[in-house]
Symmetry: C2
Subunit: 513 residues, 2 copies
């Protein structure tokens, strides 16, 4: 371990004072010095510097104004073409005390991808609801940790209130249990842990010796196979289910794949359906999955768990029109659902729900007398059934937006982004240069160049578009070839924004003909 002077050849180049032979925990730490006297700053000096209410009010308001500008961004490039140069310059030059912080953040915003720009349509990261984003400074100031009721006496109630609404939203009973998570990968990992604890309870203590197979569509998010690797189930336990013509998982294939898994020695099965696949936003037929699970359960000695990864699509349940996409979800044993996707919350807000609450509460075991209450309280600790120990109070922003605008607001936002994907499909259907790869079921739409065209050309055009600042798209591999991928995650993306981005793609394709 190098000594401190070496470690601190860091960019800010503060004067290093004499470390000397001070007593531990001294009141006057060595280091930075007072500008005038040259004396090192005392703890009091540091505190009056960093906890100065008048200065903080000024800084906080400046930050907040910056946030509003970013959240309401309309024109200009989606990403400044010189972002790399500007970011590097900022990293080199940011110096000189807290008063300068708003300037640094302004420059960082200018150099960042503008997620709230109506022409940013690349990934499943949303243009957040402004009210939710602005409340994050309060979340941070409160710094309530949700794992332990003692540390979040009021916040736990808000968290449980939000969880109760999610249960209702997805048709789960009160006896279900759930928690917010830092995202969909953790929600899937938690759900699979609950599944294994139910199907192979011996694994917790003795290790993953019981064989459990996972049957999942080939478009299943990578976090599911990854969870199998992490959980010591072995990624070889994942049996892919094929897609139907509309890029949904073909539930009719389940019996044949189960037979294959049986031949490999598996008797316990986790079925994974997806509501809103990552590549193209397709929604599996959950009722067909539920029927397949029920049929399997009737086979002697077979144990089954049905998990629905609705990380993307769960929020569609708010819309009376889109809700049909989730029909049957209430029959799942567990659900992953990300409010930071179709509820347009800023990162992070994921969620996991388990229909038989006791299955989630029993999925982990721990002994932590410094943390969890030894007596039964009216309001329980959440930590015993969450992967996280320290947990951010993510429920606040969800609750706040819900109270301020009501649930129909979420319906309107999901419908708006689906309408944007529809508009893109309409345009490509009529374009002479672009063609749809599929009809969007929701807000993700894949399209490609008409005629024969290489993967490399699609990639290069996407890169050129993103570098131009005129739009921002992603790409994926679908139907055997690379294609363009538009993910509408901004309710402020209008038809004309969609068309403008598609026209830019056409132009770039023509230039590269």
């Amino acid at each position: 371990m190098p000594d401190l002077a070496v470690a601190w050849r860091s960019p800010e180049r503060q004067r290093t004072g004499p470390a000397g032979n001070r007593s531990p925990h001294s009141k006057r730490p060595s280091g930075a010095t007072r500008a005038k006297s040259g004396e090192p700053l005392s703890t009091e000096d540091w505190i009056s510097r960093a906890w100065n209410p008048a200065q903080l009010r000024r800084l906080g308001r400046a930050f907040s104004d910056l946030a509003v500008a970013e959240l309401c961004r309309g024109g200009g490039p989606v990403l400044a073409p010189d972002f790399l140069k500007r970011t590097r310059s900022l990293l080199r030059s940011a110096r000189g005390g807290a008063e300068r912080a708003p300037g640094w953040l302004r420059e960082l915003c200018a150099a960042s991808l503008h997620q709230s720009h109506p022409r940013a349509m690349a990934q499943q990261i949303c243009a957040p609801v402004p009210l939710a984003a602005l409340a994050e400074s309060v979340v941070a100031a409160l710094n309530q940790s949700i794992a332990v009721w003692e540390m979040s006496p009021a916040a736990t109630l808000v968290d449980r209130e939000v969880m109760g609404r999610f249960k209702k939203l997805l048709g789960y009973p009160d006896s279900a249990e759930g928690s917010l998570t830092p995202g969909g990968s953790f929600a899937n990992l938690t759900a699979l842990q609950a599944a294994r604890a139910a199907l192979a309870p011996e694994a917790w203590e003795s290790g993953a010796t019981g064989k459990v197979a996972i049957l999942a569509g080939v478009q299943t998010h990578y976090s599911v196979a990854r969870a199998a690797g992490i959980m010591g189930m072995g990624t070889a336990c994942v049996f892919p289910l094929p897609l139907d013509a509309a890029f949904r998982t073909d539930a009719a294939a389940i019996p044949a794949v189960v037979r294959r898994a049986r031949r490999a020695g598996y008797r316990r099965f986790i079925l994974v359906a997806t509501s809103g696949s990552t590549p193209c936003g397709s929604f599996d037929d959950l009722e067909a999955f539920a029927r397949a699970a029920a049929a399997l359960r009737r086979q002697r000695g077979t144990r089954v768990w049905l998990h629905v990864d609705a990380a993307h699509g769960g929020g569609m349940a708010f819309s009376p029109h889109l809700r049909r996409l989730l029909r049957g979800i209430e029959q799942a044993d567990s659900i992953a659902f990300d409010p930071h996707k179709m509820m347009f919350m800023p990162l992070t807000a994921g969620a996991v729900l388990v229909r038989a609450g006791v299955r989630l509460r029993g999925a982990f075991e721990q002994n932590a007398p410094y943390l969890f209450s030894p007596v039964r309280r009216e309001i329980p600790d959440v930590g015993p059934f969450t992967l996280a120990c320290s947990q951010r109070f993510e429920a606040l922003k969800v609750w706040l937006v819900w109270q301020a605008y009501g649930p129909r607001f979420f319906a309107a936002l999901t419908e708006a982004v689906c309408a944007a994907a529809d508009a893109a499909h309409d345009y490509c259907s009529r374009s002479r240069i672009l063609e749809p790869v599929h009809r969007p079921q929701a807000n993700i739409f894949c399209f490609r160049l008409r005629g024969k065209s290489s993967d490399g050309r699609h990639w290069a055009i996407k890169e050129a578009l993103n570098a131009s600042g005129q739009g921002y798209l992603s790409s994926t591999v679908l139907d055997g070839g690379r294609c363009f991928r538009m993910v509408a995650m901004n309710p402020r993306s209008r038809r004309q924004d969609v068309i403008a981005v598609l026209r830019s793609v056409e132009r770039l394709a023509a230039e590269r003909a």
Copy 2:
């Protein structure tokens, strides 16, 4: 799945408009109606309502002012005795549009545990540095997701800059690799995954058949044994190491415990040391652990990984005085380190570092063509070696505070909280009612009633203190009995705050004599 009308018997009781036979993705979603005409709100209506810059600036500034007040809180109760009634009342009554949101948040703040109150000393959740907390609204507004460079073109550079500084801080080479995580539990899980991938690479694909033992002190955070359960290693693979008289893990016991594990068939070992134990803040002798690991490695056919859980204590490295507690940490194969603890960041900011970077990059495998770049870019995607897919831009607050105040600031804060624990120890040493259970190595201090006293009495006094609003403590089991636990996590906790809390405990003990 119930129909929407049933699902929405939720508190806000918005009028449910006619769903009727609208086309999917229609521009005029059913639901809330305009106040005057009774017409349902269109998407445009909703957007002009929720993306109104003038209103948002007003709300954002009000939120920010609230945050500043909370961050600088001094007097009043640590937790309002009527918090439960107030929170329930808020949940019942919060109605009426975004303009009311500041009032709701004001009431929520009033009913919450005041983490920034100088007499809140219960758990390892800090009084955050105000500048960091205030920047969270900008983090949320930018909504950059760190997993994929494409979605965080500028933010990834900041994230990598911070990671580079952490490597230096902890004495790791540039070739180390790491990422921020949503907390210490995820950092430990990631590190153990890297350890297993190194010791038993077959486990990823084929399942956890190779036996790997974990040797960890009995005070090791519960997330380590939990990770063993999750990872299918089986919690039975965790072999506890005893403590020495100062409640540090006794590294001298490693050879004997290894022999026991060998008799149970284990040949691969993960040693876990702790820098800042959860119960009492003890720091293991990392040099002794490193020597034990080296000795084991010399035994034929033995594979070893040394992990240091410095989630709590990693930040001590900033202080020239406290840095000695971490001596030897640079020899660890992996380190967990939470900036949301001793760097006083608001939740969440955890981190994991792996000395041989290639071991972290190889710990997970995935194929996600919609996400990760198929070509090698100058700036890599972070997602391939993180548990999370969507990732909050947590590095911003760390970087901002570092630039604004310099690294000596972190040193001063850690030294201040350690001084508070020292003051508590001094007081209890002289008290006729309280006695120290140990001499604090850092900022966690356990103490108890002198003479014979029950676990129940300690619990009841702690509960009474917390309910009184005069202080906030936790309790744990140490040395065979329940005791009080003070965790100094607020640099603004002075000696007089510490003494006031201890006097309240004495008073409550006397009342219950």
